[in-house]
């Protein structure tokens, strides 16, 4: 069970300029990485002998109004330690490499982010219609400033 | 003392012939009378069996089964019938109309035609064909044709799969079925049902004791014949939605539904005639003994359905050709030696 200090030290050594540790409210090992090195980064943490972070829990897209954050959550079955990886992609027409070639499980997570946030995943096997109806033409709905034809906002009741 | 229906019928027969009608007319009336009685009996049996299966399945599963329509739901099947009678009779456009129309008719007619030579009681049978068993097995294979017609004509992938599966299953289970019956025929030296029943006067020479293996093979092959229980692959809800009768609604579906239960009763009636001594029994009237034994076998087959999971298609075929058939041949050889 490598503690968070050694994990971050290992990562920063491997990618000196593109990876830096970040502090989040409940203390956890979190890293901010440059979107260009995504594939190499995941290749490294999956195969490194004392990291072995092969188990991808989930990828979530977050619309931060200035850009779109993509947050990866990984853990290792042998060493039982966890890692949060954050990257930034610009809001309109953001592009990032797909990691489904490294970890097959990322396929559907990325496909959903592509559909709901409009982030382009280069090299993804099938970026096609996933959750939304087939004749959907109103753009990615999960963006905060999105409004659609029959979208009813809940009126504010105090609070 | 035992109120035999046959004596009543003889009185009616004598009265008709005494009317001085031409001979061929008298025979015609008697034949039509017999056919009408068997038709009535068949419909009564279907009504009873459908209700009985739903009550039995309910009590197997700790629930009550139909209760609301009449006392303990005895009117349930009549209500189902009248409702199906009113349903819209959909014939989809993309369907091969003639074949689609005639499939349920053939299915019902073939399983009903086999009732002709069932010995219901002491000299109480519609006809006594000297090739009784052969006639029954020959007629019931028409059901396969109708299932194939239904599967092929309703132009639906699931129905096609269901039809193909049912054809493969029934044809392959026909072989051990007839072989298991051959053991009995070797013993009685005659194909006629009445003769077979005649050979089983005493309880100890019922064929279930002299041919236990034959009875078991017959029972297994019979459940496969009627597409029920562990072998109900053609209309497996989980895989093929509703198998071959997916496109049928209203009365056409009712015909398939009734044909299934007619087949169920027919198979158990033949089991009773061959292995359980037909209508022989101590006190009760002979036709009552026949019905009681037949309903016992029906109960066992219904019991299979609500306990066993379903076999896969290739396992079913393997079980038939690699396990049941050698056993049937062995049983035939043993019967040959035993009753030389």
């Amino acid at each position: 069970m490598a503690d968070s200090g050694t994990i971050i030290r290992l990562l920063v050594e491997k990618f000196p300029s593109q990876v830096e540790a970040i502090e989040l409210n409940p203390k956890q090992t979190a890293v901010q990485i440059d979107p260009r090195i995504v594939v190499a980064f995941f290749e490294f943490i999956k195969t490194h002998p004392d990291l072995k972070m092969a188990y991808l829990s989930s990828i979530s897209g977050v619309d931060m109004t200035t850009n779109i954050d993509i947050v990866y959550f990984l853990s290792s079955i042998e060493y039982k330690h966890k890692l949060t990886v954050r990257t930034k992609v610009n809001r309109k027409g953001g592009k990032i490499d797909t990691i489904s070639t490294v970890i097959k499980g990322a396929n559907w997570f990325e496909r959903e982010i592509w559909e709901l946030f409009g982030v382009e995943f280069l090299g993804h096997p099938n970026l096609t219609q996933f959750l939304l109806p087939d004749d959907w033409d109103e753009g990615p709905p999960m963006l905060r400033d999105w409004t659609g034809r029959n979208f009813v906002k809940m009126p504010e009741i105090g609070g | 003392m035992r109120l035999e229906l046959s004596s009543l019928l003889k009185v009616i027969g004598d009265w008709i012939s005494s009317l001085g009608l031409p001979v061929w007319l008298v025979d015609l009336i008697e034949m039509c009378g017999a056919a009408a009685m068997v038709m009535g009996m068949a419909f009564l049996i279907i009504l009873f069996l459908v209700w009985w299966e739903r009550k039995l399945s309910g009590h197997f599963q700790q629930r009550l089964g139909p209760m609301r329509t009449g006392w303990h739901g005895w009117l349930q099947t009549i209500a189902d019938g009248i409702k199906l009678f009113q349903k819209e009779d959909i014939i989809p456009k993309t369907v091969d109309r003639k074949v689609f129309y005639w499939a349920p008719v053939i299915c019902f007619a073939s399983s009903f035609a086999a009732f002709a030579c069932l010995p219901w009681g002491k000299n109480l049978w519609p006809t006594d064909l000297n090739i009784g068993i052969l006639y029954i097995f020959a007629i019931t294979t028409f059901v396969v044709i109708s299932l194939l017609m239904a599967g092929w004509s309703s132009n639906n992938k699931y129905a096609l799969l269901g039809g193909m599966r049912s054809a493969a299953q029934i044809v392959s289970y026909e072989v051990p079925l007839t072989l298991s019956v051959l053991g009995v025929i070797v013993a009685t030296q005659s194909l006629s049902m009445v003769a077979i029943v005649g050979a089983q006067e005493k309880v100890y020479n019922w064929f279930i004791f002299r041919q236990p293996l034959g009875f078991l093979i017959y029972l297994i092959a019979a459940t496969a014949e009627t597409n029920r229980a562990p072998f109900d692959i053609p209309e497996a809800e989980q895989e093929l939605v509703a198998g071959f009768n997916i496109e049928y609604s209203g009365m056409k579906f009712a015909m398939f539904f009734m044909a299934e239960f007619l087949n169920l009763f027919l198979v158990s009636a033949v089991a009773v005639t061959l292995f359980l001594g037909g209508w022989h029994g101590p006190f009760l009237p002979s036709w009552l003994w026949f019905l009681l034994k037949a309903f016992f076998i029906v109960f066992v087959i219904i019991w299979f359905k609500w306990t066993y999971p379903r076999l896969r298609v290739d396992q079913l075929m393997e079980f038939c050709w690699k396990f049941l058939l050698p056993l049937a041949f062995l049983n035939l050889i043993v019967a040959g030696f035993l009753f030389r």
Binding site: - | E88, I91, V241
Partner: protein
Amino acid sequence: MGIISRVPVIAEKIPGGAIVATSLEKILNLSRASSMWYLLFGTACCAIEMMCTGASRYDFDRFGMFFRASPRQADLMFVAGTITYKMAPRVKRLYEQMAEPRYVIAMGGCACNGGPFYYDSYAVLKGVDLIIPVDVYLPGCPPRPESLMEACIKLQEKIKREKLQDWSSDKRG
């Protein structure tokens, strides 16, 4: 069989014929009400409640209701669960495949008018009656098995009041 709809007309002329017509109507309605075969179709949480209603403690079979897998043989459709825009055309096609005297029970808040997903959701159809005619609306999220039974009894009463109609004729192909 176009005769059923002409029965009341003929019956008027015969003395005492009206009694025959009304009793025939009562029998047909009673049989349709007491043997409703429901279509096995549930999308969300209400499907679990429908399964529990079909099980031993609250038994549907007591009302003669038996589940059928194919829409052709079903004459009652429980819309149990949320209907999204992607699912709506399928629900409509399923409804059209059912044979004519067919009834729909909109089970649960989502089927009645979108339920808890009415506000702020871009993918939920606001009520199934926008696409298919509904006979009985059943509120609740999910409705208790007893209230599901109550809905079935309400539907049975509605069927018992129906007039003589002719469904099985082939006019409409």
